[in-house]
Point group: C2
Chain length 334, copies 2
DNA sequence: TTGTAAGCGTTATCAG
DNA sequence: CTGATAACGCTTACAA
């Protein structure tokens, strides 16, 4: 077992093929001119030696590493994982490679992540969680690194910002609750306080006021299944429990539904209407059949990667996507 | 907006600090000797310029990139996502960075993934899905790249192989079914045919035979929730439907349970015992309360990363981990 | 079309 | 402790 690394270099291939090492380089450079015969010799030599271009060295020369850094917290969460999958796939198709950095959701750790991106001279970074410090963002931009912020709130110019119509979606749910005959509605949120979560909350509460519905709002813990159960406990032990609850995410909604059914014996949607957001796979499972808004995961990833490939970009780029309502069975039909 | 990249280099820092560029390098090299005063000057200059060591160049010199390539298919799947999270976290703690390559499960695409790893001179690759071609494995090894295969079946020496006691676990479930008074048992598998899936199947069937239980086995589609529903349809419309079914994975089990309850009105565990494998988060959700085996995700990741950091390793390394039984409510108590 | 030579940003070696 | 200098493997003018 060789302790030290021993990759084969273009030099060796050149020797074997009996050509200069630039001929080797040219053979593996898309737009270069090299005689078919030479190319053939090089290919053969490379093949037999097991040569693979060193992207570290290439990146050093080209000032373009082909690396895109993905900054995420809670990767194991269904929505995050789905987005991650879509992003890596599209990046691969675009000839890029994904570097994954896990953050603990603190903005500071997002800063660390972006520094890693700079260390490896990533061509771009895509931030799915947390908000990087202004100074780091500027450093990235100044270094010529592109930045995509997904569902983040930020006023800086330079990065591409991809957001959803959160408030509008929340409004539609409120309408659906009203049609279903709900009298008292609730919004179940986590304490994460991200821009999109808060937009859903505000949109829902505003709409409820417009409809003249009694509305309650509670926030608890992380955006998780467990928090959903706790929120259900709190909502459903109220004196005047709501008969329609919009959960800020599907994970919360699943927890809410389970608790409502098991601890309170409520049947959904007959006695309680529930809606969620994200359309994670579990929302479609038989036990939940959750009416929810679908994060346009493929579209988000598509736009992000497409923007990364554009030659020149506007310093101020915003993309607003629509979350489509997926109607299942957790809300009574109007 | 600068079209071309413009990172600050050690050269510039050296100039600003009024020292040689080797002083700068030394300042950022852990074990190097540099006067506190010089170091201070360098740090300040670096800070103000926004300097970050170029890991591409460093990797080129050191022949050690700090990159570890993660090869995965179906990243969005709960168990995969959980393992991915654990791995990236441990890698980060170990000072490594994860590169993520999505495969489509074909062994060929795993080969592509490993070539990417070679391109970027990854220090190691960790394969979670599919089996790479023998020639590629040898190429990796020959290049001095380490390889970890998780839950894969392979006879080559060189890589670290991490596996579970699948057959034994299957046996324990069979025992539990027997204790619960099951007469006819079933094994619900996907058609993926991976080593661990097959080991569970064989272990279960063998144990059933030993217990003198009537046993049926079915395979269908991917290892997914939907397949679980289809498998339930097939099992539960049998003339002599089984009263205890072991599903090869939790995803299958969740689908199976939903179908059994909703389409056949069966109550679990009273009329039907169900067990799964993986202990994904959803297995603990109120609607499922699934008795299952927990993949020791943290342990797997821990062992993998620890092995990567070892100076010298045995050419033949195997780690066999125990999947612990998590007893919930989908099997009647003996 | 080809080879030669310079340079990308590092770190390691070796005098001072 | 410090500063030159030589790699590392690659691409790309430039000259042949």
């Amino acid at each position: 077992m060789a302790s030290k690394r021993d990759f084969v270099s273009a030099q060796q291939v050149a020797q074997r093929a009996g050509v200069s090492r630039s001929a080797v380089s040219r053979t593996f450079t898309p737009g270069a001119s090299v005689a078919p015969e030479t190319r053939q010799k090089v290919i053969e030599a490379a093949e037999s030696l097991g040569y693979h271009v060193n992207h570290l060295a290439r990146g050093l020369m080209l000032k373009e590493s082909g690396i895109v850094c993905l900054v995420v917290s809670e990767v194991a969460t269904p929505y995050r994982a789905a987005l991650l999958k879509a992003l890596t796939q599209k990046l691969q198709i675009a000839g890029k490679i994904a570097m994954l950095v896990n953050t603990d959701r603190s903005d500071e750790s997002v800063g660390h992540a972006l520094k890693q991106a700079i260390h490896y001279r990533a061509d771009a970074s895509i931030v799915l969680s947390g908000m990087p410090d202004r100074s780091i963002v500027e450093l990235c931009l100044r270094s010529g690194q592109r930045l995509v912020l997904i569902n983040r709130d930020d006023e800086l110019d330079g990065p591409l910002r991809i957001n959803l119509n959160d408030a509008e979606a929340a409004e539609r749910i409120c309408t659906a609750f009203a049609r279903a005959g709900c009298r008292r509605v609730g919004f179940a949120n986590s304490e994460a306080g991200t821009a999109s979560l808060m937009a859903r909350e505000e949109g829902f509460l505003a709409a409820a006021a417009r409809f003249g519905l009694e509305a309650y709002c509670m926030r608890y813990g992380a955006t998780s299944y467990q928090s959903g159960r706790v929120l259900a406990q709190r909502f459903l032990t109220m004196d005047n429990r709501p008969d329609g609850v919009f959960c800020a995410s599907d994970l919360l909604a699943c927890g809410f539904m389970d608790e409502a059914r098991m601890a309170f014996g409520l049947s959904i949607p007959e006695q309680l209407c529930i809606a969620g957001f994200d359309d994670i796979e579990q929302a479609s499972w038989g036990s939940y059949q959750l009416t929810t808004f679908a994060q346009p995961v493929e579209l988000i990833a598509g736009h992000a990667v497409e923007w990364l490939q554009m030659e020149d970009v506007d310093p101020i780029s915003n993309i607003k996507l629509q979350a489509e309502l997926v109607w299942r069975r957790s809300i009574r039909a109007g």
